[in-house]
């Protein structure tokens, strides 16, 4: 079963958020496994403002395209160019090298604890 990282919080749309400042955002291993091999990611640009609960990009796998939702509101500080260049990182290391962007968060959407997310989505803590 897919791993749920215990030290993170999660949106219902499968993004994870860490506790650093600015916050770092990625997608969960549960989501990456369900998508299949990721081949393309479309991310917001540095300086863009994103709004919690709204779409801010796309994750495309061999079989489908999924919207990427902002789990927090705020300004994009940094994007992970390595993940854009090598989208397989989202499958290989979704909580590490496959992170997506960082945000100067002004507010948060509804976030789940790792336990709540794992229970809802059937992941392994």
């Amino acid at each position: 079963m897919s791993k749920v990282n215990a030290g993170l919080r999660y949106s219902a749309e499968h993004e994870w958020v860490d506790s650093s400042s600015p916050v770092r955002v990625g997608i969960s291993a549960v989501a990456a496994d369900a998508l299949g091999d990721v081949v393309y990611v479309d991310l917001p640009a540095v300086g863009d403002t994103v709004t919690a609960g709204e779409t801010c990009g796309e994750v495309e796998s061999t079989k489908s395209v999924s919207d990427l939702y902002a789990p927090v509101s705020g300004e994009i500080v940094e994007i992970n160019q390595e993940a854009i260049d090598n989208p397989a990182l989202l499958n290989e290391d979704p909580y590490g090298a496959g992170w997506l962007f960082t945000v100067n968060a002004t507010s948060e959407g509804a976030l789940l604890t790792a336990e709540e997310y794992a229970e809802k989505n059937g992941g392994d803590l």
């Binding site: 299949g36 091999d37 796309e58 495309e60 061999t62 079989k63 489908s64 395209v65 499958n91």
Partner: protein
């Protein structure tokens, strides 16, 4: 719908497969990574469970004449030991299914419909059999189907075939079939082996009774070890068939499409004698010519067109059609798609747009297939 499981379900679970529903069947979607499985089939070999496909036996003195009436092709001229791709249409010429028929003997055929259509096709054949000296027998529930596909397929299969029958495999032509002995554990099983597939590669499809399927599966996995064979799921089967430009029932082929729009005109034998189901409608459709035709599209960017996305004119102003299947091509490295497009815009080289969720992206009409294996 009750979930259906193939005789290999436990084997897939042990291999760590993730499953998907396909035509009511719980089928392996992938075991590891669909890209790795795709690549294995192109460069070495993949092992597929296709037991969800249907099997309908058609036998009796009128078997050939009956299939000439029931299907769009001329099956009576197929030689014993050979197979033919055909269509079953309704009276309006709409496509009920695409299927492969094997002639096993002068008076015996095996018709193989798609998973979700197996019962419909069996019932249609039975209802069309009136007046023919023929028996239609749906044996889908008893038969499993295992495919080994890829350039290493022949060498892997030969490992399991007694030496005196090796020639039956090496000499087997594409779209031919024969009964061959295959070693599975302590036993040698006499099984129908066909040189057919749905991946664009060389390969074999092997029909096996459910009770023997797990032994055959294990034997093939073991024979393929060291030759690059890995189990392969439906995810890569879809990307492989798309690269090979092959239609998928439910995407490219439906009751609302006809063979001419789908580029399958040559499959319809209007020249055959006598009436067949759909003939007058198909003659009219051929004469009128389809308003839209199925084409291949090649994307210029990294984003893929997907099923049901609108196809637009190059200025983005006019809707010209709809995508039926689309994905990033693992082998070619660019997005590919099949789409029905206004017949005036189907010439290879035509520049079009596809509406990728609100953003137009440039695509070019290209010849099918997208990928063709190099012959040895």
């Amino acid at each position: 719908m009750t979930e259906k499981y193939t005789a290999l379900y436990e084997a897939h679970k042990q291999l760590g497969a993730s499953f998907t529903d396909f035509g009511g069947w719980q089928m392996p979607l992938k075991y590891s990574s669909e890209l790795a499985e795709h690549k294995a089939v192109r460069t070495a070999a993949g092992l597929f469970d296709l037991s969800h496909m249907g099997e309908v036996e058609v036998s009796g003195p009128d078997a050939g004449a009956f299939l000439d009436y029931a299907l769009a092709g001329k099956l009576s001229v197929v030689k014993v030991g050979r197979a033919k791709y055909s269509l079953i249409t309704n009276n309006d010429g709409g496509i009920i299914d695409d299927l492969i028929s094997y002639r096993l003997a002068d008076d015996s055929y095996l018709v193989v419909p798609n998973a979700g259509n197996a019962d419909t096709v069996a019932a249609e054949l039975a209802s069309r059999a009136e007046g023919f000296d023929v028996a239609v027998n749906n044996v889908s529930a008893e038969a499993s189907l295992v495919a080994v596909q890829g350039p290493a397929a022949e060498a892997i299969l030969l490992d399991l075939v007694p030496a005196h029958q090796a020639e039956a495999v090496t000499g087997m032509k594409y779209y031919a079939a024969d009964t061959v002995g295959i070693r599975a554990g302590e036993r040698t099983l006499d099984l129908l082996v066909a040189r057919t597939g749905y991946t664009g590669e060389d390969g074999f499809e092997i029909y096996v009774p459910n009770d023997d399927a797990a032994d055959l599966w294990s034997a093939l996995l073991a024979a393929g070890e060291g030759r690059g064979l890995i189990p392969a799921g439906l995810a890569c089967r879809d990307s492989l068939r798309l690269e090979a430009g092959m239609p998928l029932y439910g995407n490219e082929l439906t009751l609302d499409t006809d063979p001419y729009a789908a580029g399958l005109g040559p499959v319809v034998a209007l020249s055959k004698e006598g009436n067949f189901v759909g003939r007058s409608a198909l003659e009219a459709r051929k004469a009128a010519g389809p308003a839209r035709r199925l084409v291949g599209l090649k994307g210029s960017g990294r984003r893929s067109a997907r099923s049901h996305y609108p196809v637009l004119s190059s200025d983005g102003e006019t809707v010209l059609g709809e995508v039926t299947s689309g994905a990033p091509s693992p082998t070619l490295g660019f997005p590919i798609a099949l789409a029905y497009v206004d017949a005036a815009f189907t010439k290879p080289g035509t520049e079009l747009n596809v509406d990728l969720r609100g953003k137009p992206e440039s695509f070019t009409v290209v010849e099918l297939p997208f990928y063709k294996r190099s012959k040895q």
